[in-house]
């Protein structure tokens, strides 16, 4: 094994993507993803049992394809890494069992990885030929997806990660899905609302920004209970009420304006709180991750506000922002290179694994 550039295979199954990725040190060799998204369309959201069934059937084919794309064999792999949490319990179980079986069958060490920290791990990945990737100093990460909405501080990706704030109810992506359903725009809601919002007037309606009142915010010196946290369930209710009012008056619902105003409310509160958390915690570089990183308005406003606050923004390529196995492999390789020992094969998947637990 090359201790400087270990060959690591990563497995991800925490939500509806079955991902297997392979990295050598900080070089990405393959990133294969099989999504069950299509199967959830008629339900308007991810159904855990359907996702779990799909993981079971996709896992070995995805593994096979990822090895073929990387042009490596299992014998050459130095270690296996797997998402152990947080995520959907039944979905995590499939990837964890497959990863443990890989470890048993090959005798390779196994790392049980934190999914959220793995999203940050893609920051080290470099395309072929570039210099080896190193994460910037004073790094923060803003993760926004259908499953999570968090702001993290990363002092060291292998041993010091802290959660500064998170959603206290729905994830931002979940709010997009629910509002899209309300407006009859289909699933997934993010791209549909993003597209329609471009033709609407975001200022036509003002929707609430959750947890922004002084009692939640406090001050920098005396922070309130939810200074860097988000809440999107009230926003969803406000959108529903607004739509009902138009209907009750017999007026057509201005769908584009509602979509634009909703999107503005989400993106405004996410970016303002994220930038506030960065400023007050000495964060000078921010990495954007999660599927909602594809949202054009979120990228635009995050860029504007970061630049105004003197924060350097990093947005990885989209296929590394959404859930994938390469990010798990990337973090596994970082742990190995830092000399951190493997997790063994007796750990339990943990659907609410805290970010302070980088590996089990």
């Amino acid at each position: 094994m090359n201790a400087n550039e270990p060959l690591v295979l990563g497995i991800e199954s925490s939500c509806d993507e079955t991902g297997v990725g392979i990295v050598r040190g900080t070089s990405l060799l393959s990133n294969t993803v099989s999504s069950s998204m299509e199967e959830h369309v008629r339900f308007g959201g991810v159904i855990p049992e359907i996702a779990s069934r799909a993981h079971l059937d996709a896992l070995v084919p995805t593994l096979q394809q990822s090895l073929a794309e990387a042009g490596v064999t299992l014998e050459e792999v130095d270690a296996v890494a797997v998402t152990a949490g947080p995520g959907l319990a039944g979905a995590l179980m499939v990837g964890v069992c497959a990863a443990k079986a890989l470890a048993v069958a090959t005798g390779k060490p196994l790392y049980a990885i934190n999914h959220l920290v793995a999203h940050v791990g893609v920051g080290v990945l470099q395309a072929d030929g570039e210099r080896a990737g190193v994460l910037p100093q004073n790094l923060g990460a803003l993760l926004v997806s259908g499953g999570h909405t968090e702001i993290l501080r990363i002092k060291s990706i292998t041993d010091d990660v802290e959660m500064l704030g998170s959603t206290i109810d729905d994830a931002a992506g979940e709010a997009y899905d629910k509002v899209a359903r309300l407006l009859g725009l289909g699933y997934p809601g993010g791209p549909a609302i993003d597209r329609l919002a471009r033709t609407g007037n975001a200022k036509a309606i003002r929707f609430p920004r959750g947890l922004t009142q002084p009692k939640y915010m406090g001050t920098a010196e005396e922070p309130g209970p939810h200074r860097y946290d988000w809440s999107f369930s009230g926003l969803k209710t406000a959108v529903a009420r607004c739509v009902e009012q138009f209907e009750a008056r017999g007026e057509p619902v201005p769908v584009a304006d509602v979509a634009a105003a909703f999107q503005e409310a989400v993106v405004d509160v996410i970016t303002s709180k994220a930038v506030l958390a960065c400023r007050e915690n000495g964060i000078t570089s921010l990495l954007l991750g999660g599927g909602v990183a594809a949202n054009s308005r979120l990228r635009q406003l995050t860029r504007e506000r970061c630049s105004a606050a003197g924060i350097t923004l990093h947005v990885p390529p989209m296929d590394l922002c959404t859930d994938n196995g390469a990010m798990v492999a990337a973090l596994g390789a970082q742990l190995m290179m830092a000399g951190i020992g493997p997790s063994g094969i007796a750990f339990a998947p943990d659907s609410s694994m805290p970010v302070t637990t980088i590996s089990a």
Partner: protein, 223 residues
Amino acid sequence: MLILAIDTSAVASAALVSDDAMEGVVGNFSTEDTRSHAEVLAPGINRMLAEAGVTGSDIDAIVTGVGPGPFTGLRSGIATARTLAFVWQKPLYGMMSLDAVALEVAESTVAAPEFIVATDARRKEVYWARYTLEEGQLPQLVDGPHVGFAVDVPGVPAYGAGAGLYPDALQANPDFSFEQPDALYLGQFALARLAAGGELPDSTPLYLRESDAQVPGPRKRAL
């Protein structure tokens, strides 16, 4: 022929069975717990292989219980078996998990010529199947597997932990009232079928229930 059998339809269990070994058993383990398969299964298999001095290249085929059983637990065994078969490049077969208890009944002194095997399906239901048994033969599956309420199961002697849970509704045999499908019997059943020239199905799980997901209806409009 050496078979690695795995079943997680109720408890987690694994076994190494061979037609060359005494009594057919090379190694086995099982837990009593029905909810910690992801933790215990891989270490259990690892230990069993080490104690038996068996490596992947010694194994001729892998057999996994395909249920019925609670979904998350059931999948942990199938995911494990599929991955092992992929890495070791071995043939993989599925066996209906209730067959394990049926074989155990057939080998006991309390067997009835026609009987039910039942396991806990949670939500006040059982997974069940009906078997017939002729002297010197393997038990023959004649109906099932099904999922349903105990009161709706045919009235013949019933074996397995599902029968033990509902002794008023089922003719539960007390000797088998806590018995769960065990990979040891599943492996032996598979071995016997293969030896008799029979075929085994693939590893597709028998969920028997839909995913419970509801397609949302149209939103109610105001007024």
